[in-house]
């Protein structure tokens, strides 16, 4: 392929011109890795729109139920109206029946009344036990119904359409009243509210708390006893049910708390965050080119010397090949056979060093965290002479990337944490199989090494390639704190 003309002489002293529109278009396309960069924007937008839609449908449904209930209450309160009520209802039923008979003479037009969701989803649960009835079956992934719920015990994590997240610990009674508002009548709740969900509101029987972008906890013990603790940011606390006409109001900032009962409110220092249930937190420590969709961030050679690229003695990036399609996107990693050493076939290995420093704040704040990694493997249909096993390993170390090779070689002594998992892959190129590893990591870890390995079978005959089509795709890693119950009561 001929090269483009490089233009006039290099390195003239005058300032370069700003890019024109066509150049900007090229820059954007390059930055998007020629359209191959994976984006979650549409997925996130659709999740938000689905949650909003579910909320609107739930509210419309609740409105219909309220209308019938109110009508019932009017008749119940006024005995003299009961006879008239019966007559009115009978007339309405007759009229509706006549309309259906006239305009829809055939077919089934009866619609089952289904309780619509609230726009808030249960994203995780630990030992959760709900009070009986319909809600007893609630599980992670379900939308909450817009009705009062009783969590007998355990902890659940709720994800709101607005982006806010809350952990509720049983025994608790609560109800979603809008995609950004919850009523907590009893129990403990802590919440984390991102910038876009500012205004998230928790109402207890005696307090209304409006979030101004923060992490805070609430403990409600009854009709007139609530405690609000702020761990980060700022909240507005209004005594009473109506935030617009409060009896008293305060702004609380980091490490402040307020205990409110029927004698009024007293400010104090916040209880430890562990006194409240805590939603899960995670920071992705995504390896560069984690989907193997772009040509960059790879090198053939030994153990990598720096962060952010895949290196190994024999591998390549490819699109669909040998009947195997990438698990997602355009590309996947293909394991190739490294040169044999002393006659025997050797494993095909690829590594990347991941910088943990961007997650350092989170790790220091959280103490010991979980370190998790996952990848998908696949292989072509093969016989006993071709490899059937893969392995994923992650290990965390202290120090600089330049020391990674030595530390990795002595990892049984030097690693702060390590985890590995082997997979015996099925013989079906149509299925990708996922491998997960997890360990705990201390906050002083500086970098992690990810290794993916296709394991050569023992005694592979000379001249036989043990890796006729062995692939990896969608590798990723994160440090996280799982959803947890409170470790003690928030008593000072």
């Amino acid at each position: 392929m001929s090269e483009l003309t490089p233009g006039p002489t290099p390195d003239k002293p005058e300032q370069p011109k700003a890019p024109d529109g066509w150049e900007l278009a090229c820059i954007g396309i390059i930055r998007s890795e020629f359209g191959r960069l994976r984006s979650l924007a549409l997925k996130k937008a659709m999740m938000q729109l689905s949650a909003e839609k579910a909320w609107e449908e739930g509210r419309a449904e609740a409105g219909r139920v309220r209308w019938w209930r109110r009508l019932g209450e009017v008749f119940a309160m006024q005995p003299s109206l009961r006879v008239a009520g019966v007559a009115v209802v009978a007339a309405l039923v007759f009229f509706a029946g006549a309309v259906v008979w006239t305009f829809f003479p055939s077919g089934n037009h009866i619609q089952v009344m289904v309780q619509q969701p609230s726009g808030c989803r249960i994203s995780d649960a630990v030992n959760a036990r709900w009070a009986g009835g319909r809600s007893s079956q609630l599980k992670p992934g379900d939308f909450l119904p817009p009705e009062a719920l009783r969590l007998e015990s355990g902890v659940v994590e709720l994800s709101f359409g607005s982006g806010a997240k809350a952990a509720v610990e049983g025994p608790a009674v609560f109800k979603m009243t809008s995609p950004n508002r919850i009523e907590l009548n009893e129990g403990k709740l802590s919440t984390e509210v991102p910038h876009q969900a500012i205004g998230f509101t928790v109402r207890t029987p005696n307090v209304t708390v409006v979030d101004l972008g923060t992490r805070f906890g609430i403990d409600t013990k009854g009709q007139s006893d609530s405690e609000v603790d702020v761990f980060e940011g700022k909240v507005h606390v209004a005594e009473g049910r109506d935030v617009k006409k409060p009896d008293n109001e305060w702004d609380l900032t980091r490490n402040m708390a307020m205990v409110l009962d029927n004698r009024g409110g007293v400010t104090t220092a916040a209880a430890p965050e562990s006194s409240f249930p805590q939603p899960s937190h995670s920071v992705l420590i995504r390896p560069a080119n984690c989907g193997f969709d772009s040509p960059g961030h790879t090198a053939i050679g030994g153990f990598p010397e720096d962060f952010g690229y895949w290196s190994g003695p024999a591998f390549g990036l490819t699109g669909t090949v040998e009947g195997v399609r990438p698990a997602e996107g355009r590309g996947m990693l293909r394991f190739l056979s490294p040169p044999r050493q002393g006659g025997g076939a050797v494993d095909s290995v690829v590594w990347q060093i991941i910088d943990l420093r961007p997650a350092k704040d989170f790790m220091s704040r959280s103490g010991v965290t979980d370190l998790k990694a996952w990848v998908q493997f696949n292989r072509v249909h093969g016989d006993a002479r071709s490899a059937s096993k893969f392995k994923l390993t992650i290990a965390a170390f202290r120090g600089a990337a330049s020391e990674a090779a030595a530390q990795w070689a002595a990892r049984s002594r030097t690693a702060l944490a390590t985890a590995e998992q082997e997979l015996v892959a099925d013989n079906d190129p149509g299925t990708w199989e996922r491998v997960d590893v997890a360990t705990t990591v201390p906050p002083d870890a500086d970098f992690a090494v990810l290794e993916i390995r296709a394991i050569a079978p023992k005694n592979t005959p000379p001249g036989v390639d043990p890796f006729p089509g062995h692939f990896a795709d969608l590798i990723d890693a994160k440090v996280c704190l799982p959803l947890r119950a409170s470790s003690s009561s928030a008593v000072r």
Partner: protein, 179 residues
């Protein structure tokens, strides 16, 4: 569309076809990938809510770019990183995307962008290197200068020459396609 019970699904199918284009378009104006993701997400939300105002379904990609342009410039303003983009430059940017659509109507955006990749691969090694380090890997010009032991001005000039060469190549290919 928003009246239809399947409107979300229909919108998702339509938007999916233009997701790669939208991200690339936003990345023309915003270099921070995380911010670009946020702008893209916001643009999709606005597009769904305002889809009723779109008269010509064929104009969806250009309409989506219009929303993204306003969102990107307003996000930069909020971050106090507004840089003056001349209206003429924005017009040219849209013109470039229109050319992709008009000259290659049957292709997906990824296929259309392959044309830019071909031009990129034809750049001389020295220009390709600075381009990769700056636009692909997000390194600052001064960092590249340090790594390659060049002076800053030389790196900036190389980037400029790379951009010009890419522009000329892409334009000539699109124009050639039209004949």
């Amino acid at each position: 569309m928003s009246q239809d019970p399947d409107s979300l699904h229909i919108f998702e199918v339509l938007a999916k076809q233009h997701e790669a284009m939208l991200l690339a378009y936003i990345l023309s104006l915003v270099s921070d990938h995380k911010l670009a993701e946020d702008v893209a997400q916001q643009s999709f939300l606005i597009a769904y809510r305002k889809i009723g105002t779109l008269r010509d379904p064929e104009a969806f990609p250009a309409w989506l770019r219009g929303i993204a342009r306003l969102e990107a410039l307003s996000a930069l303003r909020r971050r106090d990183r507004e840089f003056p983009v001349e209206p003429m430059v924005l017009q040219q940017l849209d013109e470039a995307y229109r050319h992709f659509e008009e000259q290659r109507p049957t292709e997906t955006w990824e296929e259309r962008f392959h044309l830019v990749e071909e031009c990129y691969q034809r750049l001389p090694e020295a220009l390709q290197t600075v381009c990769r380090l700056h636009y692909f890997e997000g390194r600052k010009a001064w960092q590249i200068a340090e790594n390659l032991t060049l002076n800053l001005n030389a790196v900036l000039k190389r980037l400029e020459r790379a951009r010009h060469a890419l522009r000329d190549c892409v334009r000539s290919k699109l124009v050639k396609d039209s004949y």
